[in-house]
Structure formats: structure tokens, C-alpha cells
Symmetry: C2
Subunit: 270 residues, 2 copies
């Protein structure tokens, strides 16, 4: 019996669409429900308590959609509130910190790993703990908050001279640490991959956690016998807490796939 | 009888502190209550309906503080929801669109006025209507949305080479319009005045609406006999919907004045 209930994916806004994109590519038969909290974005500069409250409301909404799994496609929520989400969910939960960290550890040759993310993600040191729990003891981890990167992604300035100048400013200390691996610790950042890669140079490999997350989603569903084997075209449904027009326009660019069926909900009621 | 009730000032976050600063300078005897909605900032990219809902909650909070006047120190709310605020308030309301527009019209010599603001403010065309209602018919108004400016102000990059490069990108079409006056249509933007001024050049005068707003606050209170003539030191109280630490740290820089007495409130309950 295939389980054709949807996979629920959520983020503070549109960034999580880079994770959904990886899930859709690796699990092309699965139905999905995406919620982007554009009405309250960004989470990165908000306090952990506020982020936890918002995450709780979103879990209740996704439960109302009868999801078989919840993907926390948001680094800030993964860092601040993944325990809360697991306690509430009643279904398997995949977050974005552990899969990306495992990939970074597996790929680094010189054991010097850079991590970039929002202020909250960096201050939480969640990536340091995740990487240290997996890596050789002499592994060195260098972090940098890059708050302007989200604005650049949403402005559509994915690879302009200004984008590379800002990336150069943010990355200079990490590059001085001689990193060979750079974990993109925010779901918006893969959109800036070309600019970040140009500044980091060919000696640094970028880790887009979305691919690692999608692999863990597949493995978890497969292990639980919950993959949807149906051959028919899957449905991809989208919800936002703000303007449908803005979500579908910018979201289609982020997902690299036309978004039509998006609805607006009042998330504060959940 | 002086009216020693406080003046209520609010914004989507910290930007309105540039307006409060002007009010404190021009009305040094007045008590003030400031609310910054940092838990839901920024408003500029949110839909008008969402902004109106948030503004209504904030008006109810300020009413609970027994304010004698409400200053909408937020261009997005002034553009989307000032009628709603006036209907609800029960006290005089001063917003930021009209005073700044009047100053721009009065100061422009060549009748070519530039306006910069958030996406919502620009799309609302509220400044075009406000300026056209005051200006000579042959006045030309050129607008430009500058969404990265808020991030630059909050990152503390007020006048760096990157700031000037981004300003150059945003201002190039306005400068091609031969403007002699540039209205800073977002309360964050005065913090970037030096960078914006350097790019715009000496032939363009920048209008910081905060000064015009403070003048209107004074005139309205004076007309109504509501000025606070008390000689004692006024109290300045601050409320935020997010982290107190972040508010007081960044806010003190924005206000150019140490912020100590800040409290966190749950604005969704109002």
C-alpha cells in the first residue's frame, strides 16, 4: 500500500523552495504541501522564543493537511525549535542541520569547514555542535553571519558585481581560515551559489544542504514503507501567510518551476 | 493645564526611531512611548491587508498606554493603513507621507522630485498623489524602490563602498531624471544619508521626513492646547515584539541615544 499523503515542507518564506526543489527532483512521485511564512519573514533576526511560537503554529497547520512527514526547510527553525517540532509532529521530521553537516564532514579533505548563515543560526552554534559530533577532533569550523544574502536573493541580484563584493566582505575571514568546504547554512544561499563560488574559488566546495535533506527524506520514507509508488502526476500545493502574487512570482524563480496553486492562510489562527 | 500624556510613535521595527529622534529634538518636554514591531519586520514586502491588520493591533496597544497623539513613523503603514489608524485612534494622528511631501515640494527649484522607498510604498504611488496634490502641474516625480537599503541600515553598513555601490545602482535612473530633491520615503534611509548624498551629488538635496513630521506634531499639539509644558525630564518608554537585547543595541545606534527601558509585549494579543 503506497502512502499517498503529502510531504509537508515549511520555511519562514521562500528560501525553503530550494529544499523543496531537491525533494521534487529526488522523489518525483511524492505529493507535497509547502508553507512559506512570508507574512512574518525573516526569522533569522528574530528571537528563539518568537521562532518557536511561529513553528508551533505551522506544525498545527501542516497536521491539518494530513502530512506523512514534516521537512523543516529553514535553518533558523532547525536551530531553535526542531525539538519542539519533533515533539508536536506525530510523524517523522527531517531538518536541515544534520544532513548538511554530515555531507560537509564527509567531503572536507583538510578538516577546515566554513559555515555561513543568519545571525540566529550562527549565534546558536548549532552547526558547530552538529559538525563536531561527526568530525575528527582536529576539525576546525569557522562561522560567519551573512544577513545581507537573504535580501540579495529576494532582490534577484543572484550574481552581480555587488553580490560578489558583499560575498567578498563576508567570506574574507573564512577564506583566511583556509577552508576547503563551505556549508550554505541558510536555504536562500544556494541561489547565490555562483557568486559565492566565484569569490570562494575552485579550492572550496559549496554544500547545498537541500540535496542531503532530500536523500534523508527518501531513506526515511523507504525505511518506513511510506514511499508513494503511484505513477500518476503528483500534486504540489503551496500556502503563504502573505500576498499570493508575490509568493508565486518570486517563488517560481526560487523553485525554477511555475507555481500556480498557491493559497493564503491566516497562520496566527493555528 | 499641560497634557502630560505621552505621544505614541510606532514603526515596523527600528527605522521609526529616526522620526522619534526628530520629535525628541523639537519637543524636548514631551513624554513618548515607542513601539517597534521587530517580531514581524519588515512591512515593506508584505501585502497591504497584512500591514493593515498589524497596524490595528498596534493602535490598540498604544491606546492602552493612554497616548494623546499617534505618530505613524512608518512609510508602509502611512501608505497602506493611515485611514484605518485615523478611524480607530480617537486622538490626532500624524503620518509621514504628507509632511515630507510638502517639504520636498517647497524645496525643489526645478520641479523634478525623486522618491525612494520600499516596494509597497513605491507601488502604492502614495507619494506621487501627495506631491501632485501640492505641486505645480508640470512637476515631474520619479520613484525607485530600494529594498536593500533597510538591510544595509540594520547591518550597520551606513556608508561603506558597498553601500555607495548599491545606492549608485538604485539612484541611476533618478539621477538621469535630473532631480534636484530626493525624498527619503522610508524611515531607515536617513541612516544612509551620507552614502546616498555622496552618490546623488551636491546638486540634490535629501529630505528626511522626520524633521517635517516633528514640526507637524508640534503644531498640532500647540493648536489643540496639548503641549506638555512641564519642566521635569520627560520619560521615553520603548516596547518591541521581539528581543529586548537586539532592540536596545541596534536601537541606541538608530536613535543616537542610549535605550534602557525597553519591554517586550505580545502584540498579537491586541
Amino acid at each position: 500500500m503506497p502512502d499517498n499523503r503529502p510531504i509537508g515542507v515549511f520555511d519562514s518564506g521562500l528560501g525553503g523552495l530550494t529544499v523543496l526543489k531537491a525533494v521534487m527532483e529526488q522523489l518525483p512521485s511524492e505529493n507535497t504541501v509547502y508553507f512559506g511564512d512570508s507574512g512574518r519573514t525573516p526569522y533569522g533576526s528574530k528571537s528563539p522564543e518568537t521562532v518557536a511560537k511561529y513553528a508551533g503554529q505551522i506544525v498545527r497547520f501542516l497536521q491539518s493537511q494530513d502530512v506523512k512527514m514534516i521537512v523543516i526547510a529553514c535553518n533558523t527553525v532547525s536551530a531553535c525549535a526542531s525539538d519542539l517540532v519533533r515533539e508536536m509532529a506525530g510523524v517523522p521530521v527531517v531538518e536541515v542541520i544534520s544532513p548538511g553537516s554530515a555531507t560537509a564532514v564527509a567531503q572536507s579533505q583538510n578538516r577546515r569547514i566554513g559555515v555561513i548563515g543568519t545571525k540566529n543560526t550562527v549565534a546558536s552554534e548549532v552547526y558547530i555542535r552538529a559538525i563536531q559530533s561527526l568530525a575528527a577532533p582536529d576539525t576546525r569550523i569557522c562561522q560567519q553571519a551573512c544577513p545581507m544574502f537573504v535580501s540579495l536573493a529576494e532582490e534577484g541580484w543572484w550574481n552581480t558585481p555587488i553580490t560578489r563584493a558583499i560575498a567578498g566582505e563576508y567570506l574574507k575571514d573564512l577564506l583566511a581560515c583556509d577552508i576547503d568546504t563551505l556549508l550554505l547554512g541558510c536555504t536562500h544561499y544556494p541561489l547565490l551559489s555562483e557568486a559565492i563560488g566565484a569569490v570562494a574559488g575552485p579550492g572550496v566546495q559549496l554544500i547545498n544542504a537541500g540535496h542531503s535533506v532530500a536523500r534523508e527524506v527518501y531513506q526515511t520514507l523507504d525505511r518506513n514503507g511510506q514511499l508513494n509508488a503511484k505513477a500518476q502526476l503528483p500534486s504540489h500545493t503551496f500556502y503563504t501567510s502573505d500576498s499570493i502574487t508575490q509568493f508565486s512570482q518570486m517563488g517560481s524563480a526560487f523553485l525554477d518551476h511555475q507555481i500556480d496553486n498557491v493559497s493564503r492562510i491566516d497562520i496566527e489562527q493555528y
